[in-house]
Symmetry: none
Subunit: 211 residues, 4 copies
DNA sequence: TATGAATGAGTCTTCATTCAT
DNA sequence: AATGAATGAAGACTCATTCAT
């Protein structure tokens, strides 16, 4: 009963304040180490108010994840040239993902939650499935054109998504010191080559031509 | 300071019982969700005994991770043919890693711990660095022979390790339904192709020739 | 950090309930033997609420000690006639202390805490120093007037305070069966005589004249 | 059943080792803060052996207290000149007590245990009663001779014992910086004067004659 | 809407004591 | 006598969640 969740202008602002505060704290200290009271303090509201906007801590997390994922998908979609061939589009999506993740590091903090918490894991999985099926569709198209070897498209999807996420993660943790644009191109290369066995033209101009 | 110091054989057995129980529970429910009392109950000992063998929950975790990592490294080392060319060796290591991870799923549970705690994070990082430098060395050798394009070896190392871990993770989570041997080969292909742009001969005989 | 900060009047009442309950229990069973849960039960609140008002058990103790000490000092100050000669004032202070302690037996329970913990010890010492310097000042004045023999004023201060506390303690423990008013006068005599070698006029009328 | 407490030579040595270790640790950290395992470690024996010699931690404490008290009584007895007048003998006993306590500081650590623990308090009280009755007897004799004013002898006994213990305690805690011999004389003065209202000849030669 | 207060199950950890050998 | 291992009852403290106002 405690959460009628009204939607006046002001109400939405308040909710957003909580989301923002949570995003920042999750990024800084992780989900588990962030207390609801911390979030409220950071948002400048009383602890009790939290439950007016969110039924549980987990639900705020889920909302945060969903929001970011939508942005990510938009970024991916915007990067993929409509008519282009499938592999190029996969590459474009991967590059855009890397860039997005570098700019929205919070996204990672979210992904870093303990993956063994079933409920949280479900929230996380929920979205990657969407992207996964995108990639799978493109892989299938590429296979039809002979660009990618036969094999379970799911396998290739995992490879692409895993690469994006591994490289981004390493970059975030400081294990990969290079400009994000360079990283994006290299990841594009890596993915393309892994998929097709051939180097491909990068999506955007390389600062220094490979020549 | 409970003065652990194992004295008898029996003491070591007990310690192992606790480690085993913990490994199982960490795998099933995750590190955070596993209580010390659960571990003791599973091992069939009183709660207080835990502290005879380990000063903290964290220390048991660290010991578990180190042990598994040693096994993983042994598996990798055993798989890499001494005289073989660098890329082949990388591939061999990757395949062995995939196999190892499939057999020792608990390893993942450990890696899935939320990286919030600095101490745990250090334990976790500690080992991946070892493997990373291995791979980097091999990449450098491969670059010297012209098999791998120039570029930061760290980048390639991240790519290899990320692939191993992404594919293994997906397999564990049931998103990749195929025999582990097939998966290992495919990962080998993926990595090789990503590194060199060329398909390579698999390490072990393929069950069904790609024909 | 549970963010105590009392806001409402009601909050202060609750805090006082906890202080009262703790005072009683500390008196009855001692600091070490009193559990936080006991205090909460006695105050009729849930265990968790304790930490809303006090960060630790120790901090409640410190607050209790400081409060009582302020009362004691007030009692002492009120008893000392402003213009009177130093020895008389010391005597007056001692008598007032004895009376205060008899009425506020809890004060003893607090002082009986084992002086092991540095933090607690500091809290305890903190206040006796104030009174000690009071007495020392008066002793110095008395020495200037030739009423008290020369010698380290600190010595006399210890003597006075020790007497007050020893007699009070014995009274509390039932080893001294007499009305508190009589005890106060006797302690006044004892202290005066020890300081000056002469009997003095008591501060207040003696019930039965010594005649 | 676990404590037949045999008494071979060796057995007694072992027991003494434990007592010595405990005495030292109680002095350093207090009773409550000393663990049985600490005592055993300090004595160089296994924890289990403790219970061969003592049924409980408390019983060791009691034994320690009793032993020290016997020494104290011996020191007091030795200091009191057999034929001397009562007040002199009280003074002699007080001086000897102060000296003893300075040399055997552990005694204090024992007295510092939380006085609200009934069992420990009983152990402590047990002995002071003996001394108290000694002093009371002497006070009565002094009253008979007109040296001490009429009044409850118990009151005076408390005064004497309290003085000894307060001054000794202050000295131990560093609040009274003076040679122990000087302190003993001053305490003798203090007590004598408090009892009789007259200064008395000190028991031992004063370094600097009072002039 | 908003707040401060209240709840209580859950967690790690300590330590005197006991036991098997 | 002696040891190392084992026990388990406590106890302090955390924190998501609920409630009265």
């Amino acid at each position: 009963m405690p959460t009628p969740r009204l939607h006046t202008e002001h109400g939405n602002e308040r909710k957003q304040q909580l989301l923002d505060a949570a995003e920042r704290l999750f990024t800084e200290r992780g989900y588990g180490a962030t207390r609801i009271s911390d979030i409220c303090a950071a948002a400048g509201v009383a602890k009790g108010l939290f439950y007016w906007y969110f039924p549980t801590k987990e639900s705020l997390f889920a909302e945060l994840v969903r929001t970011m994922r939508q942005s990510l998908r938009r970024a991916q979609a915007a990067a993929m040239t409509p008519g282009a061939d499938p592999v190029t589009r996969i590459r474009q999506g991967a590059e855009a993902s890397v860039r997005f993740m570098a700019e929205h590091q919070p996204y990672f903090a979210l992904l870093d939650v303990e993956r063994t918490d079933d409920a949280l894991d479900a929230v996380l999985k929920e979205g990657s499935d969407v992207y996964a099926s995108d990639v799978q569709r493109l892989v299938r198209a590429a296979q039809a054109e002979g660009q990618v070897a036969d094999g379970d498209p799911a396998f290739y999807a995992v490879g692409v998504m895993g690469a994006v996420s591994s490289f981004s993660h390493a970059h975030r943790k400081g294990r990969l010191r290079m400009p994000i644009d360079e990283l994006a191109l290299l990841v594009g290369d890596w993915v393309t080559q892994a998929l097709t066995g051939r180097a491909s033209e990068p999506t955007t101009a390389r600062s220094a031509p490979p020549g």
